[in-house]
């Protein structure tokens, strides 16, 4: 068991490392492509040389990010095949189909339109070039769509039926993959990319102002960046609200972990600031928080859009307790019962396997029937104790707050920058605000990554919600191999990151010394 858990843990660390590095590049690609599109549209409409220079400058930064980031996501697919082969087989075409579409679309759209975007100046018409720029932005978002559809399916598996003969989930309704979870997740991720790129553009523009270089260019860029960032941030918050409702509906345990909530209630408050008690477990009487400041009704409103709604805590979910709209306690399927049903499903699968070996059709049919009856809790069969089905509360709780607090800070920052840009252009003189905007840029990445940590750590121990925990999804690989490749990836990605940052700094510095104003 210890060896198994070591492989699982290292494989999870490796996947987390790869995904976190990959996500350093993706949101900037998603957002900067839109900002470049807006600037080029302004150029095509006005014919102004200033907009053309601005477009080309930001396009060069987009190109650097795109080039360094491209293919970093492929590593995740390598890991599926090697470290997570049980998972890869089990999810079947449901995961494979969106990823295949993503690969084909990304390849054709990006290789075609990115080439026109960079090489097509003066060779194709202005409008065709503009269309290519926008299609690059659309292509990047479409790529994200398929990845996020696949990810959402792992959080809320729908549109499939399990086939024990093929030992995989077979898609029976393609459109079901576009669930509320998937739609919210897609827009939340894409709009957060707009917000991130907006903050990046405002930060770099602020550096130009601090250095007193290309001031007109910097102010023009800051305006586009701040508007895109603000739009992105507001839409991120709106879709984040939608995501919270989906989580409450389909992953109540994740919501409870996000809140560090063990015993839920109606009119449940939301902890604005707090410290979770590390000694708290679902079955002891310790306090949930060492200290907390609560917003009354907050969690009920956030999760169910109803101030009176009951929000279950970890203990309630484990014990299968709900309170309905009329205030009566009702029982749901508790975790002990889920574990029992999961073990029955496993037993049925073993019986199916034995029957298949001797080609006993009636025994196979009987085993399959029992499997179907218990399949919705298949994954719980891997647990011996309900404790194993509780996600890490501390990291989920704090990551959620880091995301929300930083997100709120950036909303205020972008509003302040916009006000400063339009009211007597005081942003131009407000050195303190320019410094804040510049220093804040890395924190936008922390905010964005924190969101992913909430989504992915909060759903533990599952790779596929309720069906496949990480410990069952793993392949029979050696710990030493996983540790070796973990450090290799850490080294490669760090080199890539250093390369990106240094090339980008050089390009920004070089750009600042040329005339970008007109």
């Amino acid at each position: 068991m210890n060896d198994l858990m070591t492989v699982v843990d290292w494989s999870r660390w490796q996947f987390a490392l790869t995904a976190i590095y990959h996500w350093l590049f993706v949101p900037l690609t998603l957002g900067l492509s839109v900002i470049v599109g807006v600037m080029e549209t302004a150029y095509v409409r006005t014919g102004s040389e200033s907009w053309l220079k601005a477009t080309k400058f930001w396009m060069s930064l987009f190109g650097i990010n795109f080039a360094i980031g491209v293919a970093t996501g492929l590593i995740l697919e390598f890991e599926f095949g090697t470290n997570w082969s049980n998972y890869s087989w089990f999810v079947g075409d449901i995961f494979g189909a969106p990823l295949a579409i993503e690969g084909i679309l990304a390849f054709f759209m990006e290789s075609t339109f990115v080439a026109v975007m960079f090489f097509g100046w003066g060779r194709v018409s202005k409008r065709f070039h503009l269309a290519s720029t926008w299609l690059t932005a659309v292509g990047a978002s479409i790529s994200a769509l398929w990845i996020l559809v696949a990810n959402a399916w792992m959080q809320y598996p729908v549109g499939m039926e399990f086939d024990p003969a093929q030992m995989r989930n077979v898609m029976d309704d393609f459109w079901a993959l576009f669930s509320g979870t998937a739609v919210n997740k897609f827009f939340h991720a894409v709009f957060s990319g707009w917000a991130l790129a907006g903050v990046f553009v405002v930060g770099v523009s602020s550096w130009f102002l601090i250095k007193n270089r290309n001031r007109e260019f910097a102010l023009r860029s800051a305006k586009v960046g701040a508007w895109t960032g603000l739009t992105g941030m507001l839409l991120t918050m709106y879709t984040g609200d939608g995501s919270a409702v989906e989580v409450a509906r389909h992953q109540p345990m994740k919501l409870a972990a996000m809140e560090g909530l063990y015993k839920g209630d109606r009119q449940q408050g939301l902890v604005a600031v707090g410290l979770v008690n590390p000694g708290k477990r679902w079955d002891n009487a310790e306090d949930e928080y060492l200290f907390d400041i609560e917003i009354p009704y907050g969690l009920s409103v956030l999760a169910k859009h109803d101030p009176d709604a009951f929000i279950p805590g970890i203990k309630d979910i484990i014990e299968g307790v709900e309170i309905d709209a009329s205030g009566d306690t009702v029982n749901t399927v508790g975790y002990a019962e889920r574990i029992a049903m999961g073990k029955q499903a496993h037993e049925a699968l073993r019986a199916y396997d034995k029957a298949k070996a001797v080609n006993d059709k009636s025994a196979m049919a009987e085993a399959e029937k029992s499997l179907r009856e218990n399949y919705r809790f298949f994954g719980y069969g891997y647990f011996d104790s309900v404790d194993e089905a509780v996600p890490p509360v501390g990291i989920t709780f704090y990551s959620f707050r880091v995301m929300v607090v930083l997100g709120s800070f950036f909303l205020l920052l972008l509003v302040a920058v916009l006000v400063g840009l339009y009211r007597k252009r005081w942003f131009e003189r407000a050195r303190w605000l320019q410094w804040i905007a510049l220093v804040s840029v890395p924190f936008m990445w922390i905010c964005s990554e924190a969101g992913w940590i909430v989504a992915e750590v909060g759903r533990q121990p599952w790779t596929v919600q309720d069906l496949l925990p990480t410990r069952a999804a793993i392949s029979a690989v050696s710990t030493a191999t996983v540790i070796t490749t973990f450090w290799m990836f850490a080294a490669i990605f760090t080199i890539l990151l250093v390369a990106e940052v240094s090339i980008m700094f050089r390009q920004i510095s070089k750009g600042s010394k040329t005339n970008l104003n007109s």
Partner: protein
Amino acid sequence: MNEYDVRSSESKEDYAVEGGRLRRFVRSVWSLYCDGFRNMTVGKTLWAIILVKLFVFFVVMKLLFFPNVLKRDFDNDSDRADHVRKELSRPR
């Protein structure tokens, strides 16, 4: 010249025109990429990074460290399914 011959010669001309257009299109796409690569400044460094990265990912990492375990160890899907069934239903 009958009606068939007229149609036939028209369609030959159409093909010739279409072929010419296609050739011009392919040539212009080719030169777009060639000239684009030739005139790159910072892009040359980036392409070098991309190529080294792809080599490391696909040749070093994929071939040496990241085999597809099920494809490597089993010949057909039925055997893979049997293996995964045993793995996932194994008492733990």
